[in-house]
């Protein structure tokens, strides 16, 4: 098989898998949020509304692609793809099991971090190109949020990389055969998940797209398939982050009984459900509180986390000590945040 | 039904009479509320007095209404004292032509929108109002729909697309 056929097949398969997953996730989110809100969610389209997201997708495809008269044409029309492509590129190196991966990179973790930071360009393009103040506000919020939360996210992953002495995701997963990193670095996991929520623009950090304030933010002027691509990338990003978390913290496919890829998907979906649960429960922070939280709480904690892992590596402490210290730090941090929530109080 | 029985009401009337002596105001009590009718020129000073007098303390402007009686406008100020629970009414008669009244926004900030509403609905000018622009009506509408002379019709013919 020539290499280009091979790579096209792999990428195509991944794309189809992702689109199907997103359709399923949209349905799942609506159902799940519905149940939390004591209602049924979609019921009419197919059994239990299973075809609802398919119907929505078809509707989006058929809708008119509107462009505001004063929009910056190129920025406006390119933006959805500039957002989607980097997020999709993450999946190039996400291993579903030891063999099931498009291309396993030695610098996998580094690559993911590098690529995922790019999609903000598309969001800023969308915000700028829409010629809409709400969009611009949303884009600026998004950029500020991305910069602030990229740091704790990367530092949390750095703790893992230090511990594993590798950036290769397969290696990192295989080291967790007996003890997932969740138990090794509970603090790192907490930091990662919180920062990931912000990266995903998910509640309680959905400030850039806040429906009740900036009415969808950068996506306010989009319709039809371009909006659909934004929506798709939002969910693909959700899968990517949950997949990454399940790989580096929950041990990926490394659990007995079930086939490896199944374990991976179970863990990923469990994390996605948690993120959805948070979304359906929590109100939204304000932008200054969000910034305070990132710079004054998450970032110092991330350094503490690295410090603990560094000490552990340097002095070869037994595993349980680092677990305990990390857990204790996580609890102390949670208690502190609980009593002194971020943000100035006027 | 009202908090002030006739006895208390008398005392408020007496109190008002003492405080407002020399302001040349008429005091009457239909429906159990003290009513003071005042000339437009003296309105603001009277209101300030009613608000700042320690024995009266009418610090709350309940309502500001304008009524078109055909030959004159009447502005009706319903006042309330949070501290004492007193209620009273101040009335000002102003002519239909040259309908000008002093604004009481300097006394009670809550008069702001009430005066703007009366201004656009009746065409009354409130001198001293900081921002006397139309409030409820469509921009550029120079009619005064609540005047009795204004017919009960739509302010503008329906356009295409109006439901």
């Amino acid at each position: 098989m020539p290499w280009y056929v091979d790579i096209t097949a792999r990428v195509g398969a991944m794309l189809i898998f992702l689109i199907l997953t997103v359709l399923a996730l949209v349905w799942l989110e609506r159902k799940f949020a519905g149940r939390i809100q004591m209602r049924l969610g979609p019921m009419r389209t197919g059994y239990q509304g299973l075809l609802q997201s398919l119907a929505d997708a078809v509707k989006l495809l058929l809708k008119e692609d509107l462009r505001p008269a004063n929009a910056d044409r190129w920025a406006f029309q390119m933006a959805p793809f500039v957002v989607f492509v980097p997020i999709f590129l993450i999946f190039v190196t996400i291993p579903f099991s030891r063999e099931l991966v498009i291309r396993n990179l030695d610098m996998g973790l580094f690559y993911i971090i590098a690529v995922s930071g790019l999609s903000i360009v598309g969001i800023v393009m969308a915000g700028w190109g829409s010629d809409n103040k709400y969009a611009l506000l949303g884009a600026v919020r998004s950029a500020a949020q991305m910069i602030s939360y990229e740091l704790p996210l990367v530092l949390a992953l750095l703790g893992i990389a230090m511990q594993a002495s590798s950036l290769n995701l397969v290696t990192i997963v295989e080291q967790q055969r007996f003890l997932p990193n969740l138990f090794m670095q509970p603090l790192g996991f907490t930091l990662f998940m919180v920062a990931a929520l912000a990266e995903l623009h998910r509640s309680p950090f959905d400030i850039p797209v806040a429906e009740s304030e900036v009415v969808g933010g950068p996506f306010i002027e989009y319709s039809g398939i371009r909006w659909g691509i934004f929506y798709l990338s939002e969910y693909v990003n959700l899968v990517a982050v949950a997949a990454l978390a399940s790989l580096v913290f929950l041990g990926g496919w490394e659990w007995p009984l079930l086939p490896p890829a199944a374990w991976f998907l179970v863990k990923t979906f469990a994390l996605i459900m948690v993120i959805m649960w948070v979304r359906a429960t929590l109100p939204r922070l304000r932008i200054d509180q969000l910034m305070d939280f990132a710079w004054k709480i998450l970032l110092p904690l991330a350094f503490v986390n690295i410090f603990i892992v560094g000490l552990y590596r340097l002095y070869q402490w037994p595993t349980w000590t680092v677990s305990l210290i990390s857990l204790a730090m996580a609890i102390v941090a949670a208690a502190t945040v609980y009593h002194f929530p971020g943000g100035e109080r006027r | 039904m009202t908090a002030l029985g006739p006895k208390e009401d008398n005392s408020l009337a007496v109190l008002l009479g003492q405080t407002l002596e020399g302001v040349a105001a008429v005091i009457e009590q239909p429906q159990g509320e003290a009513v003071v009718t005042v000339e437009p020129e003296k309105l603001v000073s009277l209101c300030r007095r009613l608000k700042e007098d320690p024995g009266l303390g009418f610090d709350y402007l309940r309502c500001l209404s304008a009524v078109d009686y055909g030959d004159h406008f009447q502005l009706v100020y319903h006042l309330y004292s949070m501290a004492y629970g007193h209620k009273m009414v101040v009335k000002v008669n102003i002519p239909l032509e040259d309908a000008v009244a002093p604004s009481v926004t300097a006394v009670w900030r809550g008069a702001d929108w009430h005066e703007r509403e009366a201004a656009e609905m009746f065409g009354i000018t409130f001198t001293g109002h900081p921002h006397l622009v139309p409030l409820l009506l469509e921009e550029g509408c120079d009619e005064h729909p609540l005047c009795k002379s204004h017919p009960m019709v739509a302010l503008r013919p329906p356009r295409n697309g109006d439901s």
Partner: protein
């Protein structure tokens, strides 16, 4: 070094088509980044000329207009108007009718506050959950209203001299089921938002106003009580059967969004308590006084005010002796509360603006009339 970067303020038009301006309210914000520098409210998009219309309809027909002023507290609005006409005509209302009115008004207050709760939750950014919690409870109340008046919202049920019909025969059992459910719902709602750290961080200390300023601006209802002024017309200027009922007037301390929220939650509990009491001691008897076929109040004027869910609703009614009111002025609580918006939004962020507006709980039908 001089400032290298010059920034200019941006004008941001919020509304009238914005999901969280609670209808067709519009404000023009001048913002410096995320911070609000100035705010200019614009209202009138829902102006239907209720006051002018009232002058062309007879006294009974005006009740239907009052339903449409504050469309979330229909019974309370009807009550104010019919009380004004009754006071003008000196009609004694049968006691049973008074009880029915108070029961319905207090239930309506709960429904209205639940609506506030849901909208405030959505404004704060809860993805629909608060709204759904509130609406499921509100739905039950609205269903009970339907059993009484036949309509879910625009009831046209109160009459000058009483109420249109007696309560349905199964109203007692309906309420016996409803009250515990409502009590549970209110607590559920409060548990979802009231103790949430994010919600507290978003609402505490935001949109504060002191008692002196609040009185000066003419605030009323929960917005006034939240700053510590224990002014409730049901107690300070009692009407109907409120003197016979036992209830507490919750009072806030800081006058911020969180206090306004807490206060309304407590008011819901108190209203529920009042409904329970009223249902226990409701006397039998007629529900309609003897009133003439054509209502022609004697010439005169009357100002009646009641405690609406949103505050002090006043109706200034002038009669010249005909069968139509000469002048009806509605002093809408939302209208007056909204005046303080500029004060409340001082030094706030754009996100707070939504919270403050939500905590004022305005109804545009009443603001614009």
């Amino acid at each position: 070094m001089q400032r290298q970067l010059d920034t200019v303020d941006m004008t941001l038009n919020m509304g009238p088509q914005h999901p969280s301006t609670h209808g067709v309210f519009r404000m023009v914000l001048t913002v410096d980044g995320e911070r609000i520098v100035a705010v200019e409210p614009y209202i009138g998009y829902l102006h239907r000329g209720i006051e002018k219309l009232s002058e062309t309809l007879n006294y009974r027909q005006v009740i239907t207009l009052m339903d449409r002023a504050d469309y979330l507290a229909n019974f309370n609005n009807e009550l104010t108007y019919v009380m004004a006409v009754e006071k003008l005509m000196r009609i004694e209302v049968p006691e049973r009718a008074e009880y029915i009115r108070v029961i319905l008004c207090e239930l309506n207050r709960i429904a209205s506050h639940l609506m506030f709760y849901g909208a405030m939750g959505s404004d704060a950014g809860v993805f629909g959950t608060a709204f759904m919690y509130a609406f499921q409870a509100r739905e039950k109340i609205v269903a009970a209203f339907e059993s009484v008046s036949g309509a879910r919202m625009m009831h046209n049920f109160f009459r000058v001299g009483g109420v249109r019909d007696d309560l349905p025969r199964d109203f007692g059992p309906i309420m016996a089921r409803l009250i515990p459910q409502l009590r549970q719902s209110i607590e559920d709602c409060h548990n979802l938002l009231g103790h949430n750290e994010v919600f507290i961080a978003r609402s505490k200390g935001i949109g504060t106003i002191g008692p002196q300023e609040a009185i000066d601006y003419g605030l009323s209802g929960p917005a006034l009580r939240a700053c510590g002024v224990a002014e409730d017309l049901r107690r300070s200027d009692p009407y109907s059967i409120y003197p016979k009922l036992d209830f507490r007037i919750p009072v806030g301390k800081d006058g911020d969004c969180y206090d306004r929220y807490l206060l309304r939650v407590e008011e819901m509990r108190q209203s529920l308590y009042m409904v329970e009491q009223a249902l226990e001691i409701i006397p039998p008897g007629p529900v309609m006084a003897q009133v003439p076929k054509v209502l022609k109040p004697p010439p005169g004027e009357v100002y009646v005010r009641t405690e609406n869910p949103r505050g002090d609703l006043g109706i200034y009614l002038v009669s010249q002796g005909g069968d139509k009111p000469y002048r009806v002025k509605v002093r809408a609580p939302s209208f007056c509360n909204l005046m303080a918006l500029e004060h409340l939004l001082r030094d706030c962020y754009i996100a707070d603006c939504v919270m403050v507006l939500g905590s004022l709980d305005i109804v545009l039908g009443e603001v614009d009339r």
